[in-house]
């Protein structure tokens, strides 16, 4: 990509970042898995690193993994006018970062969870039928409301959530995705000697 084409590709603002499935189809968004040392302030370093470079963090999930002492971050980052590989390259420079994998386009399994709160007065057979059709499980019920949980791929859960919004929901929350799957690892120990498209 030439500098000129990068300029024309610049996008100063993004569409709705609440859409967690956008990363699957938006060419400006990178899906990145970062393994970091579990140290105080590490999230601040990651978010600052991205913000400093004009890279917009759309989504961040933090979780434990099989490697004790490290955390896995599952990020969606809009790179805007910056070259796409800057996301992984800049993160790899952080001292607390163990490895970075840019999973964009590699179709890893992504998983999200949603919780919905339905008022008790709407707790009826029709609601139960709708919840069942959405694969949502009632996880708590009291005199005020019932809570249902659903999980799955972002597309499935977002679609289900859209249907559940027909109900008079008290509130709902949709997690950002976590994921697993192979990508192109950019280990912090490796360089990036990869020829790029030129002119």
């Amino acid at each position: 990509m030439t500098a000129a084409s990068r300029d024309t590709a610049f996008r100063s603002d993004s569409s709705d970042s609440r859409d967690v499935t956008r990363a699957l189809r938006d060419p400006f968004i990178r899906l990145v898995r970062v393994r970091v040392e579990d140290r105080s302030g590490v999230l601040q370093r990651v978010t600052n690193c991205l913000g400093r470079r004009g890279l917009r963090l759309l989504s961040c999930s933090v979780g434990q993994n099989a490697d004790p002492g490290t955390l896995s971050l599952w990020l969606q980052v809009e790179h805007g006018s910056q070259p796409a590989d800057q996301v992984a390259k800049q993160l790899a420079k952080l001292i607390d970062v163990v490895s970075v994998e840019d999973l964009t386009g590699s179709h890893p399994l992504e998983w999200v969870t949603a919780l919905v709160e339905i008022p008790a007065e709407a707790d009826d057979p029709a609601t139960a039928e709708l919840l069942e059709s959405c694969n949502a499980e009632v996880v708590r019920r009291d005199e005020r409301s019932l809570l249902a949980a659903l999980s799955g791929t972002p597309e499935v859960v977002e679609a289900a959530l859209e249907r559940l919004r027909q109900l008079p929901l008290v509130d709902w929350i949709l997690s950002r995705p976590i994921g697993l799957g192979s990508g192109d690892p950019l280990s912090a120990d490796q360089s990036s000697n990869t020829p790029r498209e030129w002119r």
């Binding site: 390259k89 020829p195 030129w198």
Partner: protein
């Protein structure tokens, strides 16, 4: 996770010395001494007093600055000149925050500096205690890494790792924040808690196919060109650069930070590239068919309008130790992450010597048609002052430029043939850098002369460090190119902002000769070239700090210059 002291590079004997009960401040000072620290530039305050309590018992020299920004610049100048890690020390709150400009300056230019800050006691962190500041958060963008130490037992490992991080790979600034109670915490050496030393993430040696590809591009080129930056000096690649340039018959331009990495008297030297680079260098970049960029970032001051940068180049080879710099601005087709010296030596092995007389003739033609020129209007010209100054400079004397027109005049006039002798704030462009950085350079090289080239605007930002110069016996020679205004801003307003001169005239300027004397320095005003020569002679003969206030043509500009929005080949020359 832990490691033995041997893993951290300490031998058994050193390990035994840790055994006696020590407080955190003593452990810190011992750890710094182990890193070979000779001098700390600092200022005491409430939250670092335990360190100062034990400093007199340390072999490390301390230079007392008058403002913490000066401490950071001094550590920076020391590091650039010595090749070692510079160290500065400040207290919490405003003291720590005053370091930030200096840390940014060092970090931007890949200079290894370790800053140590006192912090309020652990129990009061986050309570808005007196002189508390979030120095870790405040410095995230201007440091390579930072540490807040919560246990004095961690100090040996933290110091070890901080220095390792600062000086390896692409060097940079590192900060260690130490709460006051940790400085006072008594530790039995036998219970030292050692974390592991995280390894330097060196790029793998470039793939041989990639090197062969780059060498092939160079061999087939008819009009090769090399641009070199400070990375060449950091890796010690100056000799390899000369050999590669001669083998390819490729002219060499340098970035502002790369000034001096290629001998200015070499026939292939084209001087400075970019926004205010020489016309013949910018012509060569604009006409080359193969461009090698080594040890440089290629920022906007180098490239100017990006789509007009090296438009004839069929291949661009970019070599940088930081992979993130590759493809960041210039989409080079051959991107090599690696150490400049290793890569150039490898390229040299695969590059057969080839004469390119037609290309050299074309470059010589541009050199003749676009020489560096300045007006001759009877007023003192800055280039004349600099030529006189450089004549008084011995081969290994150091020159530190400030920021603004003085910096560009000093760089384009530079005549040195040895690397590492011309320092300036290239990335951050920090006015006020020159004097304190020169003091740091002088501390690193007490046997050499160190000149600080300033405008009067930058000088007044940090001139209080003249007191440091006297007190610490650092006999720097300050040359002020005094045009009575913010000259570069004035030129931009004249050339690019409709000629509206707004807030650029200094209507109140101190009498610098008197000011110098007030601090105990030698001071002299010079209004003619003859007076400049005499004053410089007196200044270099004077055993202590000296200042020469040169009253230059107030309308003097920097030329050539590339207008905003134009390409390198569109430079404007001196009328």
């Amino acid at each position: 996770m832990s490691a033995s002291l041997a893993d951290l590079g300490y031998d058994d004997q050193e390990e035994q010395t840790v055994a006696a009960p020590l407080c955190g401040a003593e452990i810190l000072l011992e750890s710094l001494a182990r890193e070979g620290v000779e001098v700390i530039f600092g200022l005491p305050g409430g939250a670092n007093l335990p360190i100062y309590q034990h400093l007199p018992n340390s072999p490390i020299r301390h230079v007392l600055v008058r403002h913490e920004q000066g401490a950071a610049h001094m550590a920076d100048g020391y590091a650039r000149t010595s090749g070692r890690v510079g160290v500065c020390l400040a207290t919490s709150g405003p003291g720590a925050l005053n370091l930030i400009t200096g840390l940014a300056t060092a970090h931007f230019d890949s200079v290894p500096v370790v800053a140590i800050t006192g912090q309020v006691a652990t129990a009061t962190i986050g309570t808005d205690a007196f002189q508390e500041s979030d120095v870790i958060g405040s410095t995230l963008s201007v440091t390579k890494h930072s540490y807040q130490v919560h246990d004095a037992r961690d100090l040996p490992a933290v110091v070890r790792e901080a220095f390792h991080v600062a000086r390896t790979g692409r060097p940079g600034a590192v900060l260690i924040d130490i709460p006051k109670d940790v400085q006072q915490q008594m530790v039995d050496g036998s219970e030292s808690k050692i974390a592991r030393l995280r390894p330097h993430r060196a790029p793998a040696f470039p793939d041989s196919r990639l090197l062969a590809e780059a060498a092939g591009h160079l061999a087939r080129a008819q009009r090769p060109m090399i641009l070199a930056g400070r990375g060449v000096a950091i890796s010690g690649a100056e000799a390899a650069l000369v050999q590669l340039a001669e083998a390819c018959d490729a002219p060499v331009g340098t970035t502002l930070l790369g000034t001096g990495v290629f001998p200015t008297t070499h026939p292939l030297s084209l001087g400075l590239v970019g926004f205010m680079g020489t016309g013949y260098c910018n012509k060569a970049v604009s006409n080359c068919d193969c461009l090698v960029m080594v040890g440089m970032r290629a920022d906007d001051r180098v490239t100017c309008r990006m789509d007009l940068f090296a438009p004839e180049a069929e291949h661009i080879i970019h070599v940088n130790i930081d992979p993130a710099e590759l493809g960041k601005t210039v989409a080079a087709d051959c991107q090599i992450a690696g150490d400049a010296r290793e890569v150039m030596e490898a390229l040299l092995e695969q590059t057969p010597p080839t004469a390119r007389p037609e290309w050299r003739a074309a470059v010589s033609g541009w050199r003749r048609r676009h020489p560096l020129r300045h007006p001759h209007n009877g007023l003192l010209q800055p280039q004349e002052v600099l030529a006189a100054c450089y004549r008084h400079r011995r081969a290994d004397d150091v020159v530190v430029a400030d920021v603004g027109l003085n910096q560009m005049w000093a760089a384009t006039s530079w005549t040195g043939d040895s690397p590492g002798l011309f320092l300036n704030s290239g990335g951050a462009g920090t006015m006020g850098f020159a004097l304190p950085a020169a003091l740091g350079a002088q501390a690193a090289r007490p046997e050499q002369r160190v000149f600080a080239i300033c405008g009067e605007g930058g000088f007044v930002m940090t001139f209080q460090e003249l007191a440091t110069a006297i007190e610490a016996e650092l006999p720097v020679k300050v040359v002020i190119l005094n045009n009575g205004q913010l000259g570069m801003v004035r030129q931009f307003q004249d050339d690019f902002y409709g000629g509206v001169r707004s807030q650029v005239d200094h209507t109140v300027i101190p009498d610098f000769e008197l000011l110098a004397r007030a601090f105990g320095c030698f001071g002299r005003v010079a209004r003619t070239l003859a007076e400049v020569e005499d004053a410089l002679q007196e200044a270099v003969n004077y055993p202590g700090p000296a200042l020469v206030d040169c009253r230059i043509d107030p309308e003097a500009n920097i030329y050539p210059i590339v207008p905003f929005g134009k390409g390198l080949a569109d430079f404007v020359e001196c009328p």
